[in-house]
């Protein structure tokens, strides 16, 4: 690996790599840039062909108009209610189960663990039909409950939290046990604070999944005041088919919260994927 020829080829390869990465990054970002560009154009300019990239002048009126055209504020509120409830539920339920599977020896634990992990092979789409019938029977159609309850636990979350609790040194719990602490107190006061970064990862992944969820609201929410942002935008698209600037403005607004969370907490997202490999 020495010599001028090698160092030249080394530099060539690096340039090639950077070129590939740059083209790839462009391909990833252009759709978002294009939706932003379209959202800032009046309808007439958006229809220009071949397409114009730079809106002149910037027209912010689409961002004002869509709030009155559709109950967008209500959809944001619905998305927030559902996503926050689902996230809180998962934080509690997943970490309780993950803790028990990692730290409490009890009969049937390994079978339970295997059973929960195998639920990862049954994603929601495939059981849509029986879940719909079940929600209908439970009276959970057309209300928040139907969009929240099925998401309150995630097998991925239990798995993630179990992995986290496995890394806590046993000595810490031993000390608490000698002091006569019950399991719930040990869980709450000693173990849980030690896995805060993992809780953060879990919260972000669950929030993102719930915020972006399309199918469950589609099944549950018939009336427009219960729609979440993704469902509302799709319904909006079917009504205002030709007005792309409005649609793109709504898309930009829907992407902003997740983009913000992602930019600020990127490393938690990355770690979540790297640990579980799952959404």
């Amino acid at each position: 690996m020495v010599g001028a020829r090698n160092s030249f080829s080394y530099r060539l390869v690096r340039v090639l790599y950077l070129l590939i990465l740059t083209l790839g990054a462009l391909a990833m970002l252009i759709p978002f840039a294009w939706s932003l560009s379209t959202s800032l154009k009046p309808l007439s300019e958006s229809m220009a062909y071949p397409p114009v990239w730079w809106p002149h002048p910037f027209d912010w009126s689409n961002f004002v108009a869509i709030w009155t055209m559709v109950p967008l504020a209500r959809w944001f509120l619905n998305s927030a209610i559902v996503a926050v409830s689902v996230t809180v539920g998962n934080l509690i339920i997943d970490s309780l189960a993950g803790y028990a599977l990692a730290r409490i020896p009890f009969r049937g634990r390994s079978i339970l663990h295997l059973g929960i992990v195998s639920m990862l092979m049954i994603p929601f789409q495939s059981v849509m039909l029986p879940v719909y019938i079940l929600l209908r029977w439970l009276g959970l159609l057309d209300n928040y409950g139907g969009m929240i309850v099925p998401g309150l636990v995630s097998a991925m979350g239990v798995f993630l939290m179990r992995q986290a609790f496995l890394t806590i040194p046993q000595e810490l719990e031993d000390a608490a046990m000698i002091d006569g602490a019950g399991r719930l107190r040990m869980f709450w006061q000693i173990s849980l604070p030690m896995v805060t970064p993992n809780l953060m990862t879990l919260a972000l992944m669950i929030f993102m999944g719930s915020w972006n969820n399309f199918l469950l609201p589609l099944l549950v929410a018939n009336r427009s005041h219960l729609w979440t942002v993704p469902l509302g935008i799709v319904m909006f698209q079917q009504e205002y088919f030709v007005n792309w600037p409005y649609l793109m403005a709504a898309s930009v607004l829907a992407t902003l919260p997740i983009a913000f969370l992602f930019l600020v907490f990127q490393r938690f997202f990355v770690r979540g994927v790297a640990t579980t490999g799952l959404k």
């Binding site: 309780l96 049954i122 039909l129």
Partner: protein, 313 residues
């Protein structure tokens, strides 16, 4: 646990110690069940239970409004004679066969490059990963606009004098367009999984192979690829499970119809239509059962293939 008890009660007589141990173990058993109960209950109610329930429903005829009655294997027989069912199976299988290898190879390539010591790695990782955290609904809408007859893609192609089709309105291109969208969304996501796997490969292996005079490509195919196979296996299985139940993109881009000419009807979209358009719960349940079998077979085949490949190494 023995260590804990030993440390906690070393001054107690042996009998009391074993009693305390048993009490603790009994209490622990209850606590273990209590902590896992909410998860188990909810997973049973909304995942395992529904999977079993769909098996039960697949033997009944029911429209949600009338009384259900037992029909035996008739739903399956009807389904097998239905051209639309086979179209949906073909679409889903073709979709998986194209998307899974492509996204796996792209993800591996990007990860291998990003694992080098290059400038702006953080930015690139961010850019590739971002589509995966965005909403499938929003992305589908954005791509509908890009794929429009007079959209960005055809505008770009016109620079080269190519007159592009109406990508989503043309049965020849609609499914492929959704494939591209799907690959675009998930490649960066799986790249992160590969990156985690790559970081676990010891650097000494590469140094040793460089000393032996192996080229970059050779060390990639002889060290990186084989050592990454646990990650690859995982990514392929998750890819299969994900692609075989693709729904959102098809539904949104075809306005729920699976059109044009059923070219984007996937199995899950057909299941949706069985409930909400045709009121045929039994057919939908039978299709659900067949989807499970398809996913199971595909996963087993992948498992077998990876095992065989590992034996050769």
């Amino acid at each position: 646990m023995a260590g804990i008890e030993g440390a906690g009660s070393s001054s107690l007589p042996a009998v009391a110690k074993s009693n305390a141990f048993r009490r603790r173990a009994r209490r622990e058993l209850g606590v273990g069940y209590m902590f896992t109960l909410p998860s188990v209950l909810l997973l049973f109610l909304f995942t395992l239970g529904p999977a079993l329930y769909s098996l039960y429903l697949s033997f009944f005829s029911w429209s949600l409004l009338n009384h259900m009655h037992f029909v035996g294997w008739k739903n399956f027989e009807q389904l097998f004679q239905m051209p639309l069912f086979w179209i949906s199976v073909r679409n889903s299988v073709v979709f998986a066969l194209v998307v899974v290898p492509t996204q796996t190879v792209i993800a591996l390539g990007l990860a291998a490059i990003l694992n080098q010591n290059l400038p702006a790695r953080g930015f690139f990782r961010l850019a590739f990963f971002f589509p995966a955290v965005s909403s499938s609904a929003v992305i589908s809408i954005i791509f509908m606009w890009i794929y429009n007859k007079f959209g960005l893609l055809n505008g770009f192609l016109s620079v080269f004098g190519i007159v592009g089709p109406d990508w989503l309105g043309n049965p020849q291109f609609a499914l492929s367009s959704i494939m591209v969208l799907n690959i675009w969304t998930t490649s960066g996501y799986f790249m992160i999984v590969f990156l985690a796997g790559l970081q676990a490969i010891p650097a000494e292996l590469y140094e040793a192979s460089a000393i032996d005079g192996a080229s970059r490509w050779k060390s990639f195919t002889h060290i990186t690829v084989p050592l990454l196979s646990p990650s690859t296996f995982f990514i392929v299985v998750m890819g299969i499970v994900g692609t075989l139940q693709m729904f959102d993109q098809s539904f949104i881009m075809s306005q729920g119809t699976g059109g044009p000419l059923n070219s984007t009807t996937t199995i899950v979209l057909l299941i949706y239509q069985f409930i909400f358009s045709y009121g045929q719960v039994g057919y939908g349940a039978a299709a659900t059962v067949l989807l499970f079998i398809l996913i199971l077979l595909a996963t087993l085949a992948t498992n077998w293939w990876f095992k065989r490949k590992l034996d050769y190494l």
